[in-house]
């Protein structure tokens, strides 16, 4: 079977056309047909055997990939100096990957990260297929067993024909990236709000760039790659990009809108476009062009209350309530014993804030004030900071455990077959003590639950231009930017007593001339009668 017919059949099976789509079909433009490689015409015992075959030809790919955050799960922030990444952070969703490796590393692009002893220098542990599979038949499981109740979720999957997958590798499509990034936080759309499975084959109305019938961009169209390092970082966002395009060939260091659209993105010199271009320095493109997120029929989690986790039904069993019915017809948990209570949102209007691009995190080492909501991450920015613009965010509101003696966030041990894992024993004291112990952090021995907030910059689900925000959605007293202060904005702001004096002057002038006119009329008729 020729490459073209194989591509066609694949495209038909997947319901997508052309490269860049859901799973990127093997490109007919490629100079290599992996289906013809003898190295790949063999039964593979496991994924690592496939990787070994890949590395035989792609001799430098391993070394390149090992520098990627997809492998290291660690990020040294160049500005704050904070060590970020899943390898250490606590978030407002499942909490932490630390102490729960096997479960969380089902989304690590490697094989076998089940405990602290994972060998990050072993290239054969890289999982090439999760990103490069074009068949849609490849999947990943937890890297260590969890409680049977949890493992059940991963059962009943068809075995993977590794040789077939290996012979059908290609550049990553949206479904490849989405297999993890659409499901962050433990389910479809849970975490980001602007990334969920509706983007596998979205309509234009959901995302103009990923539109399956239109531009059909793969993620890597913007998150351009060099040496397996991707442009675009949530930890260090290019909040303002005055450089614009880097033609020819476009810039490859950033994933900003400006890197393609330039810093005067509204074309021609019409008054409307001149005025809109005048907003670019203060307003992120996303602010107007993503009027709401979670628009594709998949809900995003907006509230997560861990404090109610662990309840059992009358039979003494864990249970769940599926009380949220999302746009695509699916039912979502509003309560589940292992995780607690949730609220969901669709077509969510973002929160707006000045954002300088630098994300600062509250780590396990930072003290917290439990009397106010703890910001798991926070950022700075203001109207007079040229590095900042007004950005849209998803605000996540959670209630999660903390060390009420030391006033720090805690690592919770959820995943595993051991006696301490919360997902199985539903015992907070044990799960927290074990989590802190495994992470090597001091624990005061007592815990409580604290309100937390987490902020996710919104940048996907770019709506068609006709759906962009109208002026008066912000330029109004009760508009979307009503909460931002410290700067004058026409239509939103007034001048207090100056305004009052002005209106009084108008009314006074009107009443004055009215009275004057009235007196003229009355006195004139009086004179006539005389």
């Amino acid at each position: 079977m020729g490459v073209v017919s194989r591509v066609l059949i694949l495209a038909i099976c997947l319901g997508v056309a052309g490269a860049g789509g859901a799973f990127a079909a093997v490109s007919a433009d490629s100079t290599a047909d992996h289906g013809k490689f003898d190295e790949l015409k063999q039964p593979f015992a496991d994924g690592r055997e496939v990787t070994k075959a890949c590395l035989k030809c792609h001799t430098e790919a391993g070394a390149h990939f090992m520098k990627s955050i997809h492998w290291t799960w660690t990020y040294e922030h160049p500005i704050t100096g904070q060590t970020l990444g899943k390898k250490s952070l606590i978030n407002a969703f499942c909490g932490n990957a630390v102490t729960n490796w096997g479960g969380c590393t089902s989304c690590h692009a490697g094989y076998g990260w089940a405990d602290d002893d994972f060998d990050f220098s072993d290239q054969t542990r890289i999982d090439c297929l999760v990103c490069h599979d074009t068949t849609g038949t490849y999947y990943r499981d937890p890297q260590s067993p969890g409680h049977p109740a949890c493992d059940r979720m991963f059962a009943d999957k068809a075995p993977i024909d590794l040789a077939k997958v290996a012979r059908n590798v290609g550049l990553p499509g949206r479904a490849n990236c989405g297999s993890c990034h659409f499901h962050g936080g433990g389910g479809d759309g849970v975490k980001h709000g602007d990334l969920d499975s509706s983007l596998i084959a979205p309509a234009r109305a959901l995302d103009v760039h990923m539109d399956a019938e239109g531009l059909n961009f793969a993620c890597t169209e913007c998150h351009v790659t060099r040496r397996h390092l991707w442009a675009g970082s949530r930890y260090d966002v290019r909040a303002v990009d005055p450089e614009g395009t880097g033609l020819p060939g476009l810039r490859r260091d950033v994933a900003t809108c400006e890197s393609c659209h330039g810093d005067s993105p509204h074309p021609d010199n019409s008054l409307r476009h001149l005025k809109l271009n005048g907003h670019v320095d203060r307003i992120a493109c996303q602010t107007c062009h993503i009027p709401a997120f979670a628009r594709g029929g998949v809900a995003t989690k907006t509230v997560w209350d861990w404090s109610t986790a662990g309840r059992l039904n009358e039979k003494g069993e864990p249970y769940k309530i599926e009380d949220y019915h999302q746009g695509d017809g699916q039912h979502r948990d509003t309560y589940i014993t292992i995780k607690g209570g949730f609220e969901w949102g669709e077509n969510v209007v973002p929160m707006y804030a000045w954002f300088d691009g630098v994300m600062r995190y509250t780590t396990a080492d930072d003290g917290i004030d439990p009397s106010v909501p703890v910001e798991i991450n926070h950022f700075e920015g203001s109207h007079d900071n040229p590095r900042a613009r007004i950005w849209p965010f998803k605000e996540m509101r959670s209630k999660q455990p903390y060390d009420s003696v030391n006033n720090t966030l805690v690592y919770t041990h959820l995943w595993g077959r051991d006696d301490n894992a919360f997902w199985g024993n539903y015992d907070w004291p044990k799960a927290i003590a074990a989590g802190m112990d495994m992470a090597g952090k001091p624990y005061g021995g007592q815990f409580d639950f604290v309100e937390t907030r987490m902020y996710w910059p919104i940048t996907h689900m770019v709506a068609p231009k006709e759906d962009a925000l109208a002026c008066d959605q912000c330029h109004a007293a009760d508009g979307r930017l009503a909460d931002l202060s410290g700067f004058y904005m026409p239509g939103r702001d007034h001048f207090g007593w100056v305004d009052i004096a002005g209106y009084l002057a108008l009314v006074g002038a009107f009443v004055g001339v009215l009275l004057h006119g009235l007196m003229r009329v009355v006195l004139k008729s009086g004179r006539r009668e005389q």
Binding site: G278, A470, A477, P490, G491, H494, D499, L506, A509, R520
Partner: protein, 230 residues
């Protein structure tokens, strides 16, 4: 040119009343297009300020901008016209303003005659001149200068002080706009104080008013045809 130095009329023979065009075609065009633009600007400006909700912001901003540009062009031409025709002298300060104020505050109510007579060379009474001078030298410039600075915001918004200056510019613009609004209300009312309530409006439409001409003036007009007369 004909010089009539004495107040309220000529000195050569008994003055006679004639229908004379005292507001030339350009002057009337200026007046009415300015009136229309100011009304449009005031209405859309109030919308932009959030006073009313009758237009969406984009429409209001678009109309306001184009109307402002048109008004600026009109004022540039009119400034040119005022100086080339010498009409700017009409706006100079005149004696007798207190008598005019007294007339509008009291005399008009009791049926006194207007203390001032319109003539070919003095179209405006002292109060009018002062009011129009204020309009042209204070309110107008405050509006167009801040409006223009506002319009080119994108050229200076990169500076650290841009936010504070924008606030100040908007404040001055708003204050001046309220002053303009009050001016227009009183001005429109004042048009009803003529011989009949619509007399002044008619004059400003047709350009003709019935004024006294001295014999010399009349002879000059008949001879030269410099001023239209019925």
């Amino acid at each position: 040119m004909i010089g009539l130095r004495k107040r309220n009329g000529g000195n050569a023979g008994a003055p006679r009343k004639h229908d004379v065009m005292i507001y030339s075609r350009y002057e009337r065009f200026w007046h009415w297009s300015q009136a229309g633009l100011i009304f449009v600007l005031f209405f859309t400006g109030l919308g932009l300020h959030g006073t009313h909700d009758l237009l969406d912001f984009e429409t209001a901003a678009t109309i306001h901008t184009y109307a402002a540009l048109a008004l600026i062009v009109l004022w540039v031409f009119t400034t040119f016209w005022n100086f080339t025709t010498g009409q700017w002298k009409q706006y100079l300060f005149k004696q007798g303003i207190y008598r005019v104020i007294r007339f509008y505050a009291y005399g008009i109510l009791v049926g006194e005659p207007h203390p001032y007579k319109k003539s070919l060379q003095r179209k405006q009474n002292a109060l009018q001149s002062l009011a129009y001078m204020t309009f042209m030298m204070a309110i107008g410039p405050a509006l167009w200068s801040t409006g223009f600075i506002y319009l080119i915001y994108d050229l200076w918004n990169g500076y650290a002080w841009s936010s504070e200056i924008l606030w100040l510019v908007a404040l001055v613009h708003t204050v001046a706009a309220f002053a303009m609004g009050a001016f227009v209300i009183v001005h429109v009312y004042m048009t009803t104080t003529g011989k009949t309530p619509l007399h002044y409006v008619k004059t400003m439409i047709t350009g003709y008013d019935r004024i006294e001409l001295s014999e010399v003036e009349e002879a000059y007009i008949r001879e030269t045809g410099n001023v239209e007369m019925k």
